[in-house]
């Protein structure tokens, strides 16, 4: 400060006001900016994605339904996916089961369980159970379940091992590149149609999957759409 006052009030300056080190400031600012921008871009790239934001989304459900107990051949009950999600092979949506589907069994089994209070209420009043949606694609995406499960794409490809989950969470990113990965390489994912709901099924080896998948692609004339119109209407 004193230097500045001297400079302003004093006699003619005898040297440079700025120190020599100031010369590098622009460069420092530039580098700093570049680093900040790079960090922000990298951050957005990493974190502002479905993969980071949505994978692992495991909301608590109003009724603690345990898939690992009910569903799949390895579970206690061994129910097929389609016992409850019975519209999956007919409709674009895979329906969440209606309350009377639960009540088919639970009217006999554990019908008084406190865990089933909401189910009982729904049966009595006709009011819906407010299940929390886990897997959601944007409104402008028209995904169709029926065409996938009828043509050899298993539930597991998008939903993961639901039959191992106590509380269902999102396991795959479900973003557009996730869709396109499969639509461009269908041979890696196709399986025999009767194994679609067998979530634990795997070809013997990756090579076996590729060979079998290629055969399916050729025999079934699989040509998954890659145009906009395939999913956006």
């Amino acid at each position: 400060m004193r230097k500045l006052i001297n400079f302003l009030t004093g006699a003619a300056p005898r040297g440079n006001f700025f120190r020599r080190s100031v010369n590098s400031v622009p460069l420092q600012v530039l580098i700093c900016l570049l680093v900040t921008v790079a960090v922000v871009v990298a951050g957005i790239n990493e974190y502002a994605t479905n993969k980071y934001l949505n994978v692992g989304y495991t909301p608590e459900q109003p009724v603690a339904f345990d898939h690992s107990f009910h569903a799949g051949p390895d579970s206690v009950l061994g129910l097929d996916c389609r016992y409850c999600h019975n519209g999956v092979d007919k409709s674009a949506h895979s329906n969440v089961p209606t309350t009377n589907t639960c009540w088919n069994c639970h009217s006999q089994v554990k019908s008084d369980s406190p865990a089933l209070a909401l189910i009982r209420r729904s049966v009595e009043t006709g009011e819906a159970v407010r299940w929390v949606k886990v897997h959601k694609v944007p409104d402008y995406v028209y995904f169709n379940h029926a065409v996938h499960v009828n043509r050899g794409i298993s539930c597991v490809e998008c939903h993961g091992r639901v039959d191992k989950q106590v509380v269902v969470g999102q396991q795959k990113s479900l973003n557009m590149s996730f869709c396109l990965d499969c639509h461009r390489n269908p041979e890696q994912f196709l399986r025999p149609v009767d194994k679609v709901t067998d979530l634990g099924w795997k070809a013997e080896s990756p090579a076996a999957q590729a060979a079998q998948g290629t055969k399916f692609v050729h025999d079934w004339k699989v040509n998954p759409p890659q145009s906009c119109s395939g999913c956006h209407r």
């Binding site: 502002a48 309350t99 009377n100 949606k133 402008y140 169709n144 269908p186 956006h232 209407r233």
Partner: protein
């Protein structure tokens, strides 16, 4: 590379300078304003922000960005819920549409329908093909009726005299009380006023009411009666348009209005279809005598303009001519002697009737309902002499009494069932008197006292208002045109506590059943098999076989006795012809946005009615200097239909007859009879909802109806035609929401026409015009099959890369196995201009299917209407070198233009966001979520078919568009949200700033493909069968003018249509290669007719342009690069 400039071929010397085809007088005369309008893709100001100043806008934007930072706090998606049913309903799978048979109630005939429901929410109606007469087709009104179900202003509760809400139980209690009172005195002082209905159940209950209460009166009233001839003949005539080969229509708009319009159009169009010389010989021919321009007149091969008040007399002359030519000269002379004061071209009558007589047995004369009783008698006699293709059936006995009787002798208890008599009663009937004189009034209405004149009147008179159900919520039944018994089934539980007409009537007949049981009872009586299975089958099928009206032979064939003296008409004493408007009908559909916005097929106005005047009258009014219609060089003075900033500004005039005056905007309509004025009913509502009233005033709390009310001119005696009308200009002018200059094709010859005879000797007529000498766009690949052209998209001589549909990009597994690759089906469309009648059903069907928003009158004035299908109406008047004659008698062609799905689409190359790209089946797709709204694509589209969401039309109300997020939004619980329930869940609802256009109903294509693959499972049978995809416009089209399907399959219907000699593409010389092609229109000319236009006027006008076609390729023609075609190598 230097920029290549493409110029559309310039006119040659000696070529007419006006456009061959014109949509408006401004276009015809090439006014500077029109040119400015046409050069801009959107109207001047369309892209401007209207109410917010630029600075204010920037300020708001700054603030929004600041706030956006705060909003980023919650990055995760909101928590969404899935609410499954508690108990699974039958036949319901979430996400799969369910279809039920029902019918659209009419006054003369119901329309058999299939209703598409999504989780029991009706979203769309289609024709029911089980009823062969209408196939999959449906009318514009039926299409739009779905929107009425979700009308946010429909009555949501019943009200008693004090305005307190009445429950359904209370309404039933009230009706029981009233019926008990009536029972006590035999129904004395009780009267019902209802609209006509075809329902056998209602007829049965009304009969029961009459039996139970002999003194009660049951009166039917409708402002536009469709069956006036029934009373004259004691029978109803059902013309067989499929069989008739020579049709003479006397002011009967059988293709344009009335309840049988779908069936008539379908049958008539089938008789018009011709692709070979043999078919050309069998083609139907239509003669029309009419005053205003109707769709039937537009379809006519020979059209005679005559005043409606003269046509009743002309009918006698035509009938006399038939008698004379079938050897009954004496009777003919007696008939002729009755007619005086008509100045008519004898030869027209003679030759047209000669043609009809030649086609004896397959000839037909139809007469408009408004013609005199004598005219109908004469036509019946003529039809009998011709052995006409008409069947008579026994008509239902008309209800005794008229609405005038209710006023003359008021009832103590008045029950008003539907209708809106306070608005639409004849002007000589003071309906309010009948209501005020009654001690008790019960009004069943769809709109409550705030939105309906009659309901308001009833409230004023301390009556009870009962909210009515929509037909999609009701049990009822009806009969189609041919009498087939059809159900009206509820698709959804009533959205509000409402009741139906049957609910109200039944207690008075002492019946306690619900409408379902009543309908079941009627079915048991009408069906041979009354079992539950038969009833279920009827509901599933939608039609009960074998219930057509039986033929009836005991018509009253009386010879006309009264003399006919034609009224004198002149510019000082005009005639008005009053018709229901295409937007609001008789006022019943006034609150329906789809109908309001669908342009009138001929005048192209929307949202209002106009005073249609003939060009000759416009010229004659020239006597007053203020009313200068024709300028010195003979062009129409543009003070009348004037384009200012792209809007049509019209003079306002008054019409006066017998001291009653109306005021409205003038619109010059070429083709009108000289001294006839066309008026349309249904506008000028005094108490009505948001669509029927003006927005600006409504926001200030005032209700002013769109357009003007024509009912003051309607009298009991003369409901449709008045004479002695005086027109006076007011000196004011007002804008008309008119679409005729929106998206102009600027006179390029996109329309092709020929005569039926051309199919024999000039098969190339469709290739004439510019395509006759345009560079062959396929170049060396011209000879490829259509399938190869679609799949390989050969480059021809083009320098640019073309899409290739033979490979799957980026799929490694197909590399090296291309031989096994499933070649994809390629979609294409063919539109037959020959059968298209311009009815607008496609426009409305498209709007219903594709969630196209209604934008409102102000936005239409700005050129922002959103309909994907632009049904162009072209006039051409045959002016050759004579210059600017007044276009009094033009020919009309309709051409529906939507996205042409060009294989080499100009829009795709200019999109900076890759939001519009090609798919591998030839669709030009729009990825809405990618679109950033540059509008470059619209600017580069030669067909002008892209529509831009300038504002949030789907999210906000008209009147609040410009307030953006600051304005009231349609909240989910707001009743205004009701229209959202109509939205098709398979189609994105677009937001502001997004471009949209015809998608070829991609959702239907995908659904069909998915269904094929679901069925295929692990097999290779994945192709969609021909006919499995019906796009919305094709399905609705009553003329079956649209074919859609796989163009690589030579056996598909669309390929066959495209193989027709009449097929051509619009603007194909631009090398756009549109997937939509057209089939040229045919006119079936009778060369003996006076004024026969031997070559279609369009061709005549194009002759100049074709003149150098033969020279093409000759050395004198010059190098191709220099001839203005711009096809440089």
């Amino acid at each position: 590379m230097s920029k290549q400039v493409f110029n559309h071929p310039a006119p040659q010397p000696g070529e007419p300078t006006g456009p061959s085809y014109w949509r408006s007088l401004d276009e015809r005369n090439k006014t500077p304003e029109f040119r400015t309008r046409a050069e801009r893709e959107f109207v001047d100001g369309a892209a401007a922000i209207s109410t917010v100043e630029r600075r204010e806008f920037l300020l708001l934007m700054g603030a929004s960005f600041g706030l956006a930072g705060l909003g980023l706090a919650g990055c995760r998606e909101p928590r969404n819920h899935t609410l499954p049913y508690s108990k699974q309903p039958e036949n319901t799978i979430a996400g799969v549409a369910t279809y039920y048979a029902s019918s659209f109630p009419g006054e003369l005939a119901n329309q058999a329908l299939i209703v598409e429901t999504h989780q029991h929410r009706p979203t769309k109606v289609e024709g029911n093909p089980s009823h062969a007469a209408n196939g999959t087709a449906s009318s514009k009104l039926a299409q739009a009726s779905v929107l009425d179900l979700y009308d946010p202003e429909r009555a949501q509760a019943s009200q008693d005299a004090a305005g307190a809400v009445l429950s359904v139980a209370a309404v039933r209690e009230l009706l029981r009380k009233l019926s008990a009172e009536a029972k006590a005195n035999g129904g004395a002082g009780l009267a019902f006023l209802a609209r006509p209905s075809t329902s056998p159940t209602r007829a049965r209950i009304v009969a029961a009411v009459k039996a139970a209460l002999p003194q009660a009166r049951f009166v039917e009233y409708t402002p536009v009666a469709q069956n006036r001839a029934d009373a004259v003949l004691g029978a109803r005539a059902l013309p067989d348009y499929a069989k008739a080969r020579r049709i003479l229509s006397l002011d009967a708009d059988f293709l344009g209005s009335g309840d049988g319009v779908v069936e008539a159009t379908r049958a008539y169009s089938a008789a018009r279809r011709a692709d070979t010389a043999a078919e050309a010989d069998a083609m139907a021919r239509l003669y029309v005598v009419e005053s205003t321009f109707s769709l039937t007149g537009a379809a006519a091969d020979h059209r005679l303009r005559a005043a409606s008040s003269h046509i009743s007399g002309l009918a006698l002359l035509f009938a006399a001519e038939v008698l004379a030519q079938t050897g009954k000269g004496g009777e003919a002379n007696a008939l002729r002697a009755k007619v005086s004061g008509l100045n008519v071209e004898e030869k027209w009558i003679k030759e047209s009737i000669a043609d009809l007589v030649l086609a004896k047995g397959k000839a037909l004369i139809v007469a408009g309902d408004h013609l005199s009783a004598d005219a109908h008698r004469a036509v019946a006699i003529a039809n009998a002499a011709l052995g006409a293709a008409v069947r008579y059936v026994q008509a239902a006995a008309p209800a005794a009494g008229t609405i005038a009787d209710l006023v003359a002798k008021p009832a103590a208890t008045l029950v008003i069932l539907g209708g809106n008599p306070a608005y639409d009663a004849p002007s000589d009937v003071d309906f309010a008197k009948a209501v005020k004189a009654a001690k008790q009034v019960v009004r069943l209405g769809y709109h409550g006292p705030a939105y309906d004149e009659t309901s308001a009147l009833v409230k004023e008179a301390k009556g009870t208002f009962v909210a009515a159900s929509h037909y999609l919520e009701s049990w009822s039944d009806g009969r189609t045109v041919d009498g087939s018994y059809v159900p009206v089934q509820p698709m959804i539980d009533p959205l509000f506590p409402t009741v139906t007409e049957l609910d109200v009537l039944a207690p008075f007949a002492g019946l306690t059943q619900e409408p379902y049981a009543l309908v079941r009872e009627t079915f048991n009586r009408l069906s041979k098999d009354a079992s539950d299975t038969a009833f279920a089958a009827w509901l599933a099928e939608g039609v009960l076989a074998g219930t057509q009206y039986p033929t009836y032979a005991d018509m009253l064939m009386a010879v006309p006795t009264a003399a006919f003296k034609a009224p004198e008409l002149s510019a000082k004493s005009l005639e008005v012809r009053i018709v229901p408007s295409v937007h609001a009908g008789d006022g019943m559909y006034a609150n329906n946005g789809w109908l309001a916005e669908a342009p009138d097929p001929l005048s192209k106005t929307a949202w209002q009615n106009v005073i249609l005047i003939s060009p000759k009258l416009a010229k004659e009014l020239d006597v007053e200097p203020e009313a200068m219609f024709i300028n010195k060089i003979g062009a129409l003075n543009r003070n009348i239909n004037q384009l200012v900033d792209g809007r049509l500004i019209a003079k306002v005039a008054t019409l006066t007859v017998n001291g009653v005056t109306l005021k409205g905007s003038l619109f010059i309509m070429p083709g009108l009879a000289d001294y006839t004025i066309g008026l349309q009913l249904g506008f000028g509502r005094r108490v009505a909802g948001r669509v029927a009233t003006r927005v600006a005033e409504r926001l200030q709390g005032k209700l002013i109806g769109n357009g003007f009310d024509v009912y003051p001119f309607v009298t009991s005696a003369e409901p449709s035609v008045r004479t002695g009308v005086v027109l006076a200009l007011t000196g004011e002018s007002a804008p008309i929401a008119n679409m005729q200059d929106h998206w102009s094709m600027e006179g390029r010859d996109v329309v092709r026409e020929g005569n039926a005879a051309d199919l024999k000797d000039n098969q190339n007529f469709a290739k004439l015009g510019i395509d006759g000498h345009a560079p062959a766009v396929y170049g060396k690949d011209e000879k490829m099959s259509p399938a190869d052209k679609a799949i390989l998209t050969p480059r021809g001589n083009s320098a640019y890369e073309h899409p290739n549909h033979t490979v799957a990009p980026n799929v490694a597994v197909w590399k090296g196995h291309e031989d096994k690759f499933p070649l994809l089906q390629q979609w294409g469309m063919s539109i037959d201009l020959n059968t298209c009648t311009g009815c607008n059903a496609c426009v409305t069907a498209c709007q219903a299917e594709n969630n196209i928003p209604v934008v409102g009158r102000d936005q239409v004035l700005k050129g922002r209407n959103m309909q994907w299908i632009r049904l162009d109406r072209y006039f051409f008047d045959g002016r050759d070198q004579a210059g600017n004659d007044i276009p009094t008698d033009p020919q009309v062609t309709f051409m529906g233009v939507a996205c042409q799905h060009c294989e080499t689409a100009p829009c795709e190359t200019v999109c900076p966001a890759n939001a519009t790209v090609h798919d591998d089946q030839g669709l030009n797709t729009m990825a809405y979520n990618r679109c950033i709204g540059t509008r470059y694509c619209a600017n580069n589209c030669p067909y002008k078919v892209r529509r831009f969401n300038f504002l949030d039309y789907n999210k906000r109300e008209d009147g609040h568009y410009y307030e953006g997020p600051l304005g009231p939004a349609k909240l989910p619980k707001d009743p205004a949200d009701l229209p959202q329930l109509q939205k098709n869940p398979d189609v994105s609802v677009r937001m502001r700033g997004v471009m949209e256009k015809c998608t070829y109903c991609v959702q239907r294509i995908q659904e069909a493909k998915i269904q094929a693959k679901v069925r295929a499972k692990d097999s290779a049978d994945i192709n969609v069968a021909d006919g499995a995809i019906k796009v919305a416009c094709q399905q609705a089209c009553p003329a079956e003018a649209i074919e859609f399907g796989d163009i690589t399959d030579p056996k598909s219907r669309v390929s066959k249509a495209k193989a027709s000699t009449r097929t051509y593409g619009a603007l194909t010389y631009l090398n756009t290669r549109p997937r939509t092609t057209y089939q040229a229109k045919l006119r079936n000319l009778n060369p003996k007719m006076p004024g026969a236009i031997l070559i279609p006027l369009s061709r005549k006008e194009m002759a100049g342009r074709e003149s150098h076609a033969p020279a093409h390729g000759a050395p004198s023609h010059g190098a191709p690069a220099a001839d203005g075609h711009g096809h440089q190598k």
